[in-house]
């Protein structure tokens, strides 16, 4: 068994973890170790071969592999140590980590600071309880993407996609480009779940989009043979007589991402039920001192640029912690989402330094005002659930905060 003490351990080698490791190393910390369970660094990005990455961060339109390779090169340049095919099994509240790989065997590690960057996992068919049989041929979108773009397999030739989020839309185009017949994209909401630019994927290939529809039965004993979809009423219930059975051999599920926080739960880190991720303060520190978090493990992002930025904040502050340069926050003001605001990250701010809050809304709205506390009001022309809402709190705005308050609501007026 290998026992080691490090300055910083980063769990997860995706966009968030690599940005954190780089920022920590650049801040002057010596021993930084990245642990990644995949065979390669990069997280989800090596399989995202479409463009649309880096428009904000690099002001360039890159593919996923192009975007992440810049960070991987930096990891090599800075000689940051990393271990791939290494699964972190357990994290203790005392910042001890158990991990395992084939080469080293068991690793029992301890660090002064830990950065959680485990990303998220995909919701499965089971979580949706879609009625029907249990045949082969049902995949989550991320798995199908990995199969096609990394492993070199095409799961099937007649495909129905559930979920019109970005991943679902991109996969619809990906299957069409492989010559598969995409029978449609099915969405329960009355509006598509993805960014506008990704809807083009359907238009380009004439793929039907069924809004306000749900899959209500899976047919086929050995392999998927067809899927019945039903129109939904206002309350989300299937309308009898409004079903349609679509023949297909493959069903792709793109029905939501869940921050991967089993390790965090095991360590007893406080989670926010609205995000599914750890509660973090403006330093990206969690409820356990010295444990930081960034990227999709905190909340599901739509743009990698923001993931990278959160990784940089977490990495820098983890480094400061190790170097003894991170004083406790002057004040801890808890932000509480209300009304149309589903969540706000970070959940805890000091009110002393300008920062950007990330938020998601429950329903689309236009000409809305986001109200933080009583006095801060920020105008937003259009907000919709698929797109993260950024709330910039400048020094100017922060002056309006009541310094006595321990809790502020974040809400929306239309």
């Amino acid at each position: 068994m290998i026992k080691r003490k490090l300055d910083i351990i980063v769990i997860g080698g995706g966009a968030a973890g690599l940005a954190a490791a780089i920022a920590a190393k650049e801040s002057g910390v010596n021993s930084v170790l990245v642990l990644e369970r995949n065979p390669e660094l990069g997280g989800i990005l090596p399989q995202c071969i479409h463009t649309g990455f880096g428009l904000h961060y690099f002001k360039e339109n890159l593919t996923g592999p192009e975007y992440i390779s810049r960070f991987i090169s930096r990891v090599h340049d800075l000689e940051i140590e990393y271990k791939v095919e290494t699964m972190v099994l357990e994290l203790s509240p005392r910042r001890e980590v158990w991990a395992v790989n084939q080469h080293d065997g068991l690793l029992n590690l301890k660090a002064d600071a830990i950065v959680l960057a485990m990303g998220c996992r995909e919701r499965s068919r089971g979580a949706l309880c879609i009625p029907g049989t249990r045949p082969a041929g049902i995949f989550t979108a991320g798995t199908a993407q990995r199969l096609m773009d990394i492993e070199g397999f095409l799961p099937g030739r007649k495909v129905l996609i559930l979920g019109s989020g970005d991943v679902g839309l991109i996969m619809a185009r990906r299957f069409a480009m492989e010559g598969a017949e995409v029978m449609g994209v099915v969405e329960v909401a009355p509006y598509p779940g993805g960014l506008d630019r990704n809807l083009q994927c359907l238009r380009d290939f004439g793929i039907p989009l069924y809004l306000r529809h749900a899959a209500t039965f899976i047919h086929g004993s050995d392999r998927v043979e067809a899927v019945t979809i039903s129109r939904l009423d206002e309350s989300g219930k299937p309308i009898a007589g409004e079903e349609k059975t679509i023949e297909c051999d493959t069903l792709i599920l793109s029905v939501g991402l869940i921050p991967e926080n089993e390790l965090s739960k095991g360590a007893g880190i406080q989670l926010d039920p609205n995000t599914g991720g750890p509660v973090v303060d403006e330093n990206m520190e969690t409820s356990i001192e010295g444990v930081f978090a960034c990227g999709n493990v905190v909340h599901v992002h739509d743009l990698v640029d923001h993931v990278t930025q959160s990784g940089e904040v977490a990495g820098k502050n983890a480094a400061k912690k190790v170097l003894g340069e991170l004083p406790p926050l002057e004040r801890r003001i808890h932000l509480r989402p209300e009304g149309n605001i589903r969540y706000v990250v970070p959940q805890i701010i000091s009110g002393e330094r300008p920062l950007t809050l990330f938020s998601r809304v429950k329903k689309p709205a236009s000409n809305a005002k986001i109200i933080v506390g009583e006095k801060i009001s920020i105008h937003k022309r259009i907000v919709k659930p698929p797109e993260l809402v950024t709330i910039k709190l400048t020094s100017e705005l922060l002056k309006k905060l009541n310094p006595e308050k321990k809790e502020l609501t974040v809400t929306m007026e239309e």
């Binding site: 099994l89 499965s124 082969a136 492993e151």
Partner: protein, 489 residues
């Protein structure tokens, strides 16, 4: 081919009989139509409860064998390393009428020979089950009830039987029975004829059809569907015992129970259907399960997000209402082990002993083997209840234990290789032996990896790996196949 005893069906009944017979010096063969043990029916999809034995009417075969079977599970599970925990069950009553049913059940249980039954009221009930509905009035406590893993049990029984000389023929379906002069002679299968002196019909849902092949048409099997949902392991501490509502005339009702693996399961419904192959779940069924579950444990109503899977199983419900375990004057040599409805899992070890007695009575000489090996080594799961010392020792012996393939259940490549060595040839076969793919992501991540391992170890193309045999192929084509085509089309 020739054998002395031919068992038709590799469910829990067939495998328990095979293992019991493997203690004796006799030639035994088991045929199973599916690709693996326990793939064919209720044995892979049930509530996994080892019932205490107060449900069945005194005097029935089911009542007798259930209690006897329950008593045997302790030893059986330790000999064969089958996961089993006696966590006890509680039947919950919500009003005075229901409390009187508890007393009836207690009386029935005592008549069946079940000891230690106790009615629990008030504070003690909520100390035992802090999340139980506060409106609950009383509970019938049966400490001897337990939970197991039914497919692992069938697989373990089969492995041990094979170790002791029983032959297993998979993907072999009995299609006809040859009878001469009032005696069974042979069984016809899709792979040829097997000559035999005795036939044991343990064909589960299809036992009436197999029985008809022998000319015995005295009963019918109706599939009675039961649907379930499974919750994430995060909820494991919500419930401590097997919780039942008051039974209905046709079923023990929708239970909420911890599984032996630490998940929570809710179900089953009970609806008679027509098609013995229709193990689909339904919208209404799942809603009914959730209503039933929330009545017992109301906080589950807010935890739909923690459901990781739903499935259904079909009880082989006999028209006679009781297990049919018997021999016939004609055709001599044919033995029915049919209509093994619930509590068939519980009863299986006792069913097996009863079959041995019947065979003896029918004139088969059964002598104990001197070299019977009662023990089966389990597949080691070093990360399941993470034990660093054990994990390290295993990895030192075999590095593949250091490669975690299933992230949710922490299953290593070493465990998967061991499952393949023991006979797994499909994704489900690996899953039932190791739990790879049974966690919260339901195989989303590990499926492609396991497919590659299976292909490599079995020496077959990746595209030929199936989920559960038959046409259940998972990866249909190589990338670009539809664009450039190839000779495989």
């Amino acid at each position: 081919m020739k054998t002395t005893v031919l068992i038709i069906g590799g469910g829990i009944a067939g495998t328990a009989i095979a293992r019991e017979l493997s203690k004796y010096d006799v030639d035994v063969t088991l045929v199973e139509k599916e690709k693996d043990i326990a793939f064919g029916g209720p044995t892979k999809a049930n509530t996994a409860i080892i019932h205490a034995g107060y449900d069945d009417k005194p005097g029935t075969t089911a009542a007798k064998l259930c209690r006897r079977g329950n008593a045997k599970w302790g030893r059986l599970s330790s000999e064969l390393s089958i996961p089993f925990r006696r966590i006890g069950s509680l039947v919950i009553a919500f009003n005075d009428d229901e409390i009187s049913v508890l007393y009836e059940l207690m009386k029935r249980g005592e008549a069946n020979g079940v000891q230690d039954l106790r009615i629990i009221m008030g504070r003690e009930l909520f100390e035992m089950e802090p999340n139980l509905n506060r409106k609950a009035a009383a509970g019938l406590y049966a400490p001897s009830a337990g939970v197991t893993s039914p497919y692992e049990a069938a697989i373990a029984l089969a492995e041990n039987a094979r170790m002791n000389g029983v032959s297993f023929l998979l993907e072999t379906e009995a299609t006809g029975i040859i009878i001469k002069n009032g005696k069974v002679k042979a069984v016809q299968t899709n792979r040829g004829t097997i000559h035999t002196r005795y036939i044991i019909n343990a064909a589960g849902l299809f036992a009436d059809e197999v029985s008809a092949m022998a000319g015995i048409e005295e009963f019918k099997i109706t599939p009675r569907k039961g649907e379930y949902v499974i919750y994430d392991k995060n909820l494991r501490s919500l419930v401590n015992h097997i919780l039942f509502p008051i039974p209905s005339p046709i079923s023990k009702g929708i239970t909420v129970t911890p599984t032996v693996d630490g998940n929570l399961i809710a179900g089953p419904t009970a609806h008679d259907i027509e098609d013995k192959r229709d193990a689909s779940t339904t919208f209404e069924g799942i809603e009914e399960v959730l209503r039933g579950a929330c009545k017992l444990v109301p906080c589950l109503s807010a935890r739909r997000d923690a459901i990781i899977s739903s499935f259904s199983g079909l009880r082989p419900q006999p028209s006679t209402g009781d297990f049919i375990i018997k021999s016939y004057e004609e055709p001599y040599g044919f033995i029915n082990v049919s209509g093994i409805k619930s509590p068939g899992l519980t009863s299986a070890p006792a069913i097996a002993e009863m079959v041995v007695e019947i065979l003896r009575a029918e004139g088969l000489r059964l002598e104990m083997k001197s070299d019977f090996k009662p023990y089966r080594r389990p597949i080691e799961h070093p990360f399941r209840d993470f034990n660093p010392a054990k994990a390290e020792a295993l990895i030192d012996q075999d590095r593949s234990y250091g490669h975690v393939v299933c992230r949710c259940e922490h299953v290593s490549e070493g465990e998967i290789l061991e499952a393949i060595r023991r006979g797994a040839t499909t994704l489900d076969g690996v899953k039932y032996r190791t739990r790879a793919g049974m966690g919260r992501c339901q195989g989303g991540f590990c499926t492609p990896h396991i497919i590659k391992i299976l292909a490599r170890e079995l020496g077959i193309p990746v595209e030929d790996v199936t989920k559960k045999g038959g046409d259940s192929k998972v990866l249909l084509y190589r990338a670009k196949h539809l664009l450039i085509g190839d000779e495989k089309e």
